[in-house]
């Protein structure tokens, strides 16, 4: 199990009032249920597994990605504006 930091942005952060959280997880796919356990359901109905994910600043679309100690994971929700 790797010790990782998950930083939440957008709706994930506003709904959970949580900027970041430390977790232990083996793979990226393990992070989502762990977040669900700790933070509960989001008000908006959005699910953690549907987040856009960056690990250490790089886009990551592989849920099976193995995590390493010290990894910083960003979870982002879609956005628009002008």
């Amino acid at each position: 199990m790797a010790n990782v930091t998950v930083k939440l942005f957008g709706v994930f952060r506003v709904d959970t009032h949580t900027p970041s959280i430390a977790l232990q997880a083996e793979k990226l796919k393990d992070v989502f249920p762990a977040l669900q356990d700790k933070l509960g359901q989001l008000d908006s109905g959005l699910q953690f597994k549907d987040a856009t994910v960056y690990i250490n600043g790089e886009s990551c679309k592989k849920k099976s990605r193995a995590l390493q100690d010290g990894d910083e994971i960003w979870l982002l929700s879609p956005a628009s504006g002008g």
Partner: protein
């Protein structure tokens, strides 16, 4: 007798500031059907008026304030109005859109638009009512800030005002209506040049609508769509446009250090989440808005409009400042002075780079923030070096050098999106008629990473998509609608479920739908359908009686885009003027990845072909197909000049 079209008030007011007279400008049902309204209507009016060599501060430069047919008809987000004129910043047309309530009040007076010509000798407020136009001495208002000015005008009226920056003809001065602004292109300077300090409108009329029942049903569905869509119903109300900072950082499109990078280490201190958690007092909204994206914050114990994404990025990452409280304060100061925050911030960043490169020291440097507020005041009053910065980054680069890193397109400073990681957005910046504007560009970043995750580095299909979005947003704006409503055209599941296999297939195919989109954009009248994702089209039909379809929307957009473009050519825009600074086209953002620069020439070839343009100049055939009102003689002379 039944009017041919409802939704409109049917009259256009023409105000001569030199002679202090007013009359009606002829505007027919055929004109309404051809242009719809808003910025397209304004472009049409200005194309008929402008002459070769005409400039922003000429007495006969017109200011054209237009509304759309949906304004006042009960549609959501329909209070937007437009101000078009020759821009002192770019020398070509600018169209500046505002969410204040002036447009609604203007329609209540019985007018769809008002045109100002001439120059007053002394400061003046023009007061418009149902029955009259009164010219009121504004000497006592001259010198006041935008808020002070509005506080001294009748409470129950729509207002347009300028601040000190407009009075001193700062080339990017803006116009305020309430707390909202017609920000870009320096319309405030043209007001100031005409000594037009303020305009008020008070009336009680409302437009008739063609089919009230169907319009009500459409509006109810439309509001539901806006309130449940992932972008307009969730992200924008919760975080405002400020919520873009973090995704922009992730996608490497957060303009940093005068667009030399796309990521900023201090982004978490200036992001929308920080604003929402520590500074947001409450949400606010333009009149009739169902989205409510505006942020209200506290400055000096006053509740004022909070910063949008643009100023958080451009006065944060782009000048290496991570102090959000300073940004909140500067935003307030710029609003009070009446200056476009995007151009002001872009110009300051350019001045900082001039110092870093040892070209010229204005006392501004990256990361140094203690003298920025003072510089904004100097700019507004054109004092000291502020007089130089008041002319914007293009003129500064012509005087001091640094053209390759003066971050503007056609003289207008770019918005906060660094386009080397969103190359379609870069094409949009370059081709936008009013200059470096993200919205007039077609707002391609919404599909290139922020809303949808389409490959942001491939040029494939980007020209076609940019044209489609540019045309669509042009038409949405012409109707009087907020452009943010057009984001709801993107199906929610594509946004909310980015990891679904179906989403991945659709997004992977997105860049290759170019030929289909090209056909839609070129043969706009062929798309005689309405789609539920585009309620504007239904609303226009039920409000006005004009047979609106998706194809009609694209046609109005194409008409507007081509009309503005040929007007710009008459005003002196050269062929192949659709350019970006070399930093963005020649230097890769990531030196290890040559794809991280804007392949502009490659995309422009496709873009021009699809638009029916040659080197950025519409062909005669294209203009005639669209019915743009220009004679062959004028066209030939303009094109000859464009290639001179």
């Amino acid at each position: 007798m039944k009017k041919p079209y409802d939704g409109y008030m049917g009259k256009v007011l023409f105000v001569d500031l030199t002679n202090r007279t007013h009359s009606l400008y002829p505007w027919t049902d055929a004109d309404r059907r051809r242009t719809l309204g808003g910025k397209v209507m304004a472009a049409d009016i200005l194309l008929r008026h402008i002459q070769f060599g005409m400039q922003a501060f000429d007495e006969d430069n017109w200011i054209v304030v237009t509304t759309g047919p949906l304004t006042g008809c009960g549609c959501p987000n329909s209070s937007r109005f437009n101000i078009s004129t020759i821009s002192p910043l770019t020398g070509i047309l600018t169209s500046s859109n505002c969410g204040g309530d002036f447009g609604l009040w203007l329609k209540r007076c019985g007018y769809d638009a008002v045109i100002f010509t001439g120059k007053s000798k002394t400061p003046v407020t023009v007061s418009i009512t149902h029955n009259d136009v009164v010219f009121v001495d504004a000497s006592s208002l001259w010198g006041m800030t935008t808020t002070e000015t509005q506080e001294r005008l009748p409470r129950r009226s729509g207002k347009l005002v300028i601040g000190p920056a407009g009075e001193h003809k700062v080339l990017y001065a803006c116009v305020f209506s309430g707390e909202r602004t017609a920000g870009r292109g320096g319309v405030g300077a043209v007001f100031g040049d005409k000594k037009l300090k303020a305009v008020t409108a008070f009336g009680t009329s409302l437009p008739d609508v063609r089919d009230r029942e169907k319009l009500r049903n459409t509006n109810e569905k439309w509001v539901r769509t806006l309130k449940t869509h992932p972008l307009t119903g969730r992200q924008l109300p919760k975080l405002g446009t400020a919520g873009l900072i973090a995704p922009m950082q992730a996608h490497s499109i957060l303009a940093t250090k005068n667009f030399s990078a796309g990521r900023f280490d201090g982004f978490e201190k200036i992001c929308g989440e920080e604003l929402a958690e520590k500074h947001l007092v409450r949400n606010a909204a333009c009149t009739t808005c169902a989205i409510r994206c505006a942020r209200m914050v506290k400055v000096d114990d006053k509740i004022v409009k909070g910063p949008e994404l643009e100023i958080l990025g451009l006065l944060g990452a782009n000048i290496l400042n991570d102090d959000i409280e300073k940004i909140i304060r500067w935003n307030y100061v710029l609003d009070e002075l009446g200056m476009d925050s995007i151009s002001a911030a872009g110009t300051v960043a350019f001045a900082m780079e001039l110092k870093e490169k040892g070209v010229r020291d204005f006392g501004l440097e990256f990361g140094k923030t203690d003298n920025i507020e003072e510089m904004f005041h100097k700019i507004a009053y054109r004092e000291g070096d502020g007089d130089i910065l008041a002319d914007g980054s293009r003129k500064m680069s012509e005087r001091f050098g640094g053209k390759e890193y003066a971050i503007h397109a056609k003289g207008m400073e770019l918005a906060a999106y660094e386009p080397r990681h969103a190359v379609g957005h870069g094409l949009g910046y370059a081709t936008a008629n009013r200059g470096g504007c993200h919205l007039n560009a077609g707002y391609m970043v919404v599909v290139e990473g922020l809303g949808l995750d389409v490959d942001s580095l491939t040029p494939h299909g980007k020209a076609a998509l940019a044209i489609m979005f540019q045309n669509l947003m042009e038409a949405v704006s012409a109707g009087g609608e907020c452009l943010f409503t057009s984001y709801a055209v993107l199906p929610g599941f594509l946004i909310d479920k980015p990891n679904w296999p179906l989403t991945k297939i659709i997004l992977a195919a997105f860049p290759y739908v170019g030929p289909v989109v090209n056909l839609l954009s070129h043969f706009t009248k062929a798309a005689k359908i309405n789609i539920p994702l585009l309620p504007e089209s239904y609303a226009i039909k039920y409000a006005t009686g004009i047979p609106s379809t998706m194809g009609a929307m694209l046609t109005w957009g194409a008409y507007g885009y081509n009309t503005e473009r040929i007007a710009n050519i008459i005003l002196g825009q050269k062929a192949d003027a659709d350019q970006l600074p070399k930093r963005l086209t020649d230097e890769a953002q990531n030196p290890d990845d040559p794809r991280t620069k804007v392949p502009l020439d490659k995309m422009k070839k496709v873009y021009n072909r699809a638009r029916g343009w040659k080197n950025g100049v519409p062909t005669w055939h294209r203009l005639k197909t669209l019915g743009v009102p220009i004679t062959r003689e004028v066209y030939d002379a303009a094109v000859k000049e464009a290639y001179r």
